[in-house]
Each structure stands twice: as structure tokens, then as C-alpha cells.
Amino acid sequence: MVFNKYKPIFNSSFFLSIIFVAALFILIFISGVSYRYTTSLTDSSTLMVHSYKIRSELEQLVNYLKDAESGQRGYILTRDSLFLRPFLSVREKINKSFTTLKVLSKNNFQQQKNLDSLYTLINLRIAILYNTHDISNSGTFNQDRMVESQVRGEQKTTLVREQVNDMIDFELMYLKVHQGLFEHEISWSPLYTLLLLLFSLLVFIFAYFQINRDIKKLKNSNEELSIAYEAISHAEEIGEFSSWQWHLDSNEFKYSDNQYRLLGYEPRSFESSLHKFLEFVHPQDRHILLESVERIMNERVEPTTVFFRVLRKDGQLRYFKSIGKLFTDASLKKIIIGIHWDITEQHLNRISLEERNRELEQSNSELATFNHIASHDLQEPLRIIQTYISRISEKEVVNMSNTTIGYFGRIQASIERIRILINDLLLYSRTNRGERNFELVDLNNLLENAKAELVQTIEDKNAVIHADPLPQMNVIPFQIQQLFINLIGNSLKFCKAGRDPVIRITCDQLVHKNNKPDLVSTAKNYTRISIQDNGMGFDQQYAENIFILFHRLHLKNEYPGSGIGLSICKKIVKNHGGYISAQGIPEVGATFDVFLPN
């Protein structure tokens, strides 16, 4: 998760690499093109120079021949041997020229052939020159032979000239053809170069903006990172926790600043390592930490949590909670990232809370046992007293005065009250503890059981009970039965003299709207069971008080009772996550509403 955040920048750098490679190829291509362009230019100029050399050499050749001819003519006219010099050196010069031409045209087969025929022609012409020279020197000068020789010579010279002209033409044509090829190549090169340059420029501009954007992004990320780092650093100090990283590949261990503080040191005051940290861990807890490291390496998915003790620099014992998880970053390097949390305060609080809870539980169970035993053991002497009184009033009644009989009656009544009180207390303590086994039961059955329990009183008081059909509900059966007994019993007890009790039990469903402060459950739907009587009722100002333990609205001798019955009702309803309320109108009747969550 942590590493995914940086992915976009990695993508961008990949993109930049592509641009770089493309630019590299373009540059190499441009270099190639330029090289070829330059080579072509050089080749072209070399060719022109070469062609020019051949042509000038050929012209030179013709010139040598002409010089020899005109020199010979001058000699014949003047007989001055100075004129003969070109004629005498003509062969040597021509041969030299030919050698040069041969070398120049060694790659051109056609031109070599032309050169051979030219050489033959020139040789013939030189032979005629020698012949003419012989004729002019011989003592028998013959005008006709001279003329004839001159004419033949002139013819050959013309042939030589023609041959030379042909060769020059050929050379020019050759030059033209090749020059054309070069020109074709060269003419496209600047365009290519220009286009590629423009393209490279675009690529570079694009790359520049891309890099700029990445740098901006990096800068922002860096800023965010440093803010986040600062925030975490503060959070660590306030929250008394610290973080650490363990780079498994390089075995590098990094603590956050607060880690040092948690151990009682100034930040970065020693070299961090797992080994160093272990020195602070309580010797008995070191194995816990080492085992957890092992687990972190193996369990790659779930973070591992451990608890251990740490001995701080000042020797204070602290409780640490630590969570670690193995991560693999984008470059496949393994890092364990973890958090240490100093939970000493919480731990000590929890311990004292647990201690208090235990004490409470103990005192609670002591109370329950006390309640149970007291109720039970108190009943024995009472029962004995009652039994003896019953014996006395049976056997000795004839010997007793009426006053004594009356006293015995009062004693009997008092003892009966104590018994009821004890029984109710026992019942109350049982509602308090006891298993809370919820069962799905038919409330009609529980109501019938309650009525059966009260059948004697119902008959005695000539009471009528009208009950709506009740639903099936998930309740603690014996408690709800007790609830019915107590509520109906209450109505029967507080009936109005001279009016037969009529009790109406109605039931409806309601969605809870107004928040009753006493509600334990957060349920929305409730079943309301209302028990309404036509008894003596009560003043509404006592509606809350009647549910308080031992709270009574009447004198003991008017209405006997312990003042526990309705408290038990309230407790039972609370056990079910419900609520009980009472409405009373004096001399008219009372209604008890029981709200039970569905």
C-alpha cells in the first residue's frame, strides 16, 4: 500500500527512458545522413578533379603533337635546328603523358580502349613526322613526296584531334551521369536533416516539460512527505508510540526519534539495531520478541502483535505493545515495518480495573451467598418458633387468658411478616444473579402458571382477570412468570374495599420513539404488556418510588408486604433489556406497563 503511491513517477521515468532512446536513434541517424552527405560531396569533387586532369592531359597531348608539327614546319622553312626541339622531344613527352592518362583511367575500361586507339593514331602520326623529317633532310628533296607526307600527316592529326575530342566528350558525359547521381542524393539530405532536427527539437522540448513536471511532482511529494513526517513525529510523541524499519536486505535498522525517547534516550544517541533494542527488553520477554520476528518473516499477510516489558535507561519498567509486518517494496526489497507503543499507563489502569472488578465480583458473590445463607438459616429458627406457637395455641389454649391469646396472635403475625420479608429477599437476590437462560416461550403459559400460583387469593377476593392473547417471546421463563405473579399479586393486594377486583391484561406492539432513560436495550421494537386494575391506585407523584427496594406507600398493618415485590419486577424487566412504568389514579386504579424488546 505504502509503495503504490509512488508508482506514477516510476511510470514517468519509464516514459523518459523511451524518449531518451528515441532521441539517441535520431541523433545516430542524423550523423549517418551527414556523413553520407559529406562523403558524396568529396566523391563528387574528386570525380570532377579527376575528369579535369584527364581532359587537360588529353589537350596537352594534342598540344605536344601540334608543337612538334609546327616546329618541323619552321625547321623545313628556316633550317634552324632550334625549331626541331619540340619534334625531337615529342615521343618522350607523349609517352609520359600517356603513362599519366593510363594511371588516371585505369578504372574506366572504355576510356582505356579509347586510349589504346589514340596511342596507335599518335604513333602513326609520329611515324609520318619522322618520314617528313627524312624527306626534308635527304639530298634529293622531292616536292611531291613532301606534300604527300604533309597531307597524310594532316589527316592523321585530324583523326587524333577527333579521337581526343571524343574522349573528352566521353569524359564529360561520364562526369555528368555521376554528378547527376550525387546531386540526387545530396539534394534530399538537407531536408532530411532539417526534419530530423525539428523532430529532435520537439522531443527535447517534450522531454524538458515532462522532466520539469516530474521534478515539480517530486518536490510536492517531498514537501508532503516532510509535512507527514513532522506530523507523525508529533503524533508519536503525544501518543507515546514509535516506529521502526528493518531493511532485511541491508540489515539496516532505523528507529524513529521517539523510539529513543521511549527508551529514555535523546534521539539518535546510539546506533540502532535489533540486537541493541533487545538489550532494553526485559530478559524474560526477549524470547517473545524473537519469536514474533520469526512469525513476521513467515506470516506475510497478517500483522503480528506482541506485548513485552522494557527496562528504560532510568531503570523504569515499561509495558510495550508492538505490531510488525513484512513489506516488499517496488524494487522487491524486504522491509519489516513496525510500531512500538508504550501502553504502561493503560496496562496499569487495566490491571487496577481488573483488580477492582475482581473485588466487586467477589463482594457480589459474597453478598449473594450471604443473602442466600442468611435467608435460609434465618428461616429455621422462625419455623421452629412458629411450630412451637402452633403447638401452644393448640394444646394450651384452654389455660390462656384472652389477652395472652391476642398476644400470641400478634407474635404469629409478626413472624409471618419476617418470613415473607426473608422469602422476598431471597427471591430478589436470585433475580440478581442466577443464570440468564433465554428461551422462546409462550407468554400465555407463563401467565397461566402465575394465575395458578395465585388461585387461592383470586378466589378469596372474587377477582376476575381478562387477558389478551400474549405472543411468544425470547425470555427467561421463571423470571417472567415471577413478574406476572408479582404484578397480579400487587393488583389483588391493593384492591379497593367493596369492589371486586377486575384485572385487564392487554398487549400491543410499538416502535419505540421517545427515549426512556432507563432503557438498557437499543432495540427499536417493543412488546408492551399492560396490567390494569380497578384497585385503590396511587398518586402519580409516587410512580417512580414504588419500584425502589423496601419503598412502601402504605402502613405495614394496612397492607402487609416487604416492599420488594415491585423492585423484583423492575429488576426482571431490566434483565430483559426492557422498561417498566406505572400510572395511578387514587381510588380508581393503577396500570403497569411492561416494555420488552422483541
Binding site: 435460609h376 419455623r383 421452629i384 411450630t387 412451637y388 421463571f478
Partner: protein
């Protein structure tokens, strides 16, 4: 059907209870022979005496020092020579747990000590005249708790 007096044994640590129990049987018009022991240890010693005459009905209090009624009940029901004795739990309380537990452990009848002498006589008479055959053959939870 019964020759000689019905032998009744009571194990109860409360002196008054023992006295009232004895008085009640004196006034019941039935031929009975009542023997009293003071607690569970004494009870078991009495029952395991060599040649002791076994009672027909044992009334067993639950709350007793040294060895309580529940332990005695277990020992009697697990003893080859004693397991046929009719055991009546005779206790002050009639809590659901006690009734349930003694029933499971094999007591025959459960009665609650009444707080009136006349009622005491009535219920003891009722227990003694019970058709024990019916009560011992098939354990019946419906009439396990006997009331007057």
C-alpha cells in the same frame, strides 16, 4: 401388608426439629418406631453397623454439619445394602436447585418442613402412608415434591 411397626429414621442436626418430629409421630395414630441421628456422619455409622435393622423410611435433612444430606444420599444410593431404603428429603428450603439435584441423585420424596405442628403431623402421616411401591418403582418428578 406391614408386620410390626414402621421403622422411621431421621437425620437432622437441629434439636428442636428432632423433638418436634418425635412428638408428631407420637400423636400420629400409626405404629411407628422412630430413631434419631444428629448428623450425616452419625447416620452413615448407624446404617453401616453390623446387623443393624434397616429403616423403612429415612428422613434426611440437607443442611447438616460434617456430612450433609446430599453426600449421604449419594452414599446410600451407591451402597448395595442400603440403596432400597426410601429416602425422604426433609428440608427447610425448597429451592429449585435442591429439588432438582436430590431428585437426580435418587431421593424418593421431597417435603418442606412446615411451620405449623398440625401441618407437620399431616405431612408425616401422608409420607408414611404413601404407596411406596408406586413411589419407588418409577421415579416421578411430578409428585416428587409432596405438599400437605
Amino acid at each position: 401388608m406391614q408386620k410390626g411397626p414402621i421403622r422411621v429414621l431421621l437425620a437432622d442436626d437441629d434439636e428442636d426439629d428432632r423433638l418436634l418430629f418425635q412428638d408428631a409421630f407420637k400423636e400420629i395414630k400409626l405404629k411407628t418406631k422412630v430413631h434419631l441421628v444428629n448428623d450425616g456422619v452419625e447416620l452413615m455409622q448407624y446404617l453401616s453397623q453390623a446387623g443393624a435393622v434397616k429403616p423403612h423410611v429415612l428422613f434426611l435433612d440437607l443442611n447438616m454439619p460434617r456430612k450433609n444430606g446430599m453426600v449421604c444420599l449419594d452414599e446410600i444410593r451407591n451402597h448395595e445394602g442400603l440403596k432400597d431404603i426410601a429416602v425422604v428429603i426433609y428440608s427447610t428450603s425448597a429451592s429449585d436447585e435442591d429439588i432438582e439435584e436430590t431428585f437426580v441423585r435418587g431421593a424418593n420424596v421431597y417435603i418442606r418442613k412446615p411451620n405449623n405442628f398440625n401441618e407437620l403431623k399431616k405431612i408425616l402421616e401422608k409420607v408414611i402412608t404413601i404407596n411406596w411401591q408406586y413411589h419407588t418403582s418409577g421415579l416421578n418428578k411430578e409428585n416428587f415434591l409432596l405438599s400437605f
